[in-house]
């Protein structure tokens, strides 16, 4: 068994899924989380775009960590992150126009998602490329997973559909509030509470 001081790659990956889930535990990047999760497809697209940006910025930053002087590291990181975000934005515009249109300004806004800069500053700038890769993989998966759960609850209750497919019958009166901003905060609160409850039980 490895000591906590030197976690294995698998542990670096797994921590992002549950123990340090960026959305439900670290509460990072909540602006896009709350804003775009009114439909599952938006949640998935946002999650994957963030995943891509996180992965590429973590790799590049961990590669350059000894070259960038620490006085200008934030400026350097932001340029790297913004480049990845713009590439993701152009890619979506060229290949997935309808998703790009649905997400509108929230794709460019990934630049200021504190999850990305947070991982760059707290992890990639201090760890090897391989470790940073697994860290981004875990954090990205955890973030995407959180977005899918949140957007599923909101779309089902707020619109009666999942991924655009009606799953609740005609009898169902959609709770409009769930796809409006208050629905995001309410669902988010319940999700965090549920997660804490499960953790508490586990720890006895």
């Amino acid at each position: 068994m490895s000591t906590p001081v030197h976690p294995t790659n698998t542990q670096e990956f797994l921590k992002g899924l549950w123990k340090e889930n960026p959305m439900l535990v670290q509460l990072l990047g909540l602006c896009p989380v709350l804003a775009v999760t009114n439909s599952v497809i938006n949640g998935i697209a946002m999650g994957l775009a963030t995943f891509f940006v996180l992965l590429s910025s973590n790799i590049v930053i961990s590669l350059l960590k000894n070259i960038i002087p620490k006085q200008i590291r934030i400026a350097g990181y932001i340029v790297i992150i913004a480049t990845a975000v713009t590439i993701a934005d152009i890619f979506l515009k060229a290949n997935f126009l309808s998703i790009s249109k649905a997400l509108g300004p929230f794709i460019p806004l990934i630049v200021v998602n504190c999850l990305i800069l947070g991982r760059a500053e707290a992890f990639a700038s201090k760890n090897t490329v391989v470790k940073s890769f697994f860290d981004a993989l875990g954090m990205g998966t955890g973030f995407t997973f959180g977005l899918i759960v949140l957007s599923s609850i909101r779309e089902i209750l707020g619109n009666g559909t999942w991924l655009g497919v009606p799953i609740l019958g005609e009898w169902f009166q959609p709770w409009l509030i769930m796809i409006l901003p208050p629905g995001a905060f309410l669902t988010m609160g319940f999700l965090i509470a549920a997660m804490q409850k499960i953790k508490e039980r586990k720890n006895g």
Binding site: A35, V36, N38, S39, N42, L64, I67, I68, P69, Q71, I72, A75, G76, V79, I80, A82, T83, T86, I87, I90, F91, K93, A94, N95, L97, K101, A102, L103, G104, P105, F106, L176, I179, L180
Partner: protein, 193 residues
């Protein structure tokens, strides 16, 4: 701070920005043709969706104003279409509007571009909202031919029902169509004769 550190900071930052710009311009040049093609496709699909009987269209420009004339298979002129764009809730909204040759009835509209709030303002692209405009009679006796109501639509008098939770976006669409129709009307009337 010594001189070599300052020099190093400048060199590193310039190098990073240079490489980023290079990478972005490569990505852009690889995607631009696809993006342009997408835009053209979106426009054409919308034109033919709004005019199912149309077989071809002509793009015309009169004094910087672009509009499209739709023809059916017998080369009969059946309708006009024009792009109306302007500010929405957050950024520009670009709509395509098709009207009958007498400019009294809207055949339908499509949203080509928008950056409204996802899930709220983006509902201006939903069929239920777009259908509000199908067969809408333009009311030229009023100050503006189109208007909106929060509760009920009145197609015979140019009134559409705004989307609950997205009144600003709904109003923006109505406003920009109004502006464009008022501006384009004199040209189209001349063109029709």
């Amino acid at each position: 701070m010594n001189k070599s550190l300052i020099l190093r900071m400048i060199i590193v930052l310039v190098a990073i920005t240079f490489l980023s710009a290079l990478l972005l311009s490569i990505t852009w040049s690889l995607s631009i043709s696809k993006i342009k093609l997408n835009e053209q496709k979106v426009l054409e699909t919308a034109l033919y969706e709004l005019n199912p009987t149309a077989a071809k269209y002509d793009r015309k420009t009169i004094q910087d104003t672009i509009f499209y004339q739709m023809y059916d298979q017998q080369d009969q002129f059946i309708s006009y279409a024009f792009i109306a764009d302007g500010s929405g809730f957050q950024a520009n909204i670009k709509t395509l509007v098709s009207v009958d040759p007498t400019l009294t009835k809207i055949l339908g509209i499509r949203i080509l571009e928008q950056s409204e709030t996802p899930g709220l303002g983006t509902k201006i692209m939903d069929a239920s909202f777009l259908n509000e405009f199908v067969g809408l009679i333009l009311n030229y006796t009023k100050k503006v031919p189109l208007s909106y109501s929060k509760s009920v639509s009145d197609k015979k008098h140019g009134v559409i029902k705004a989307i609950t939770g997205a009144t600003i976006s709904s109003r923006a669409v109505v406003n920009l169509i109004n502006q464009k129709i008022t501006k384009i009307k004199p040209f189209l009337k001349k063109e029709a004769i």
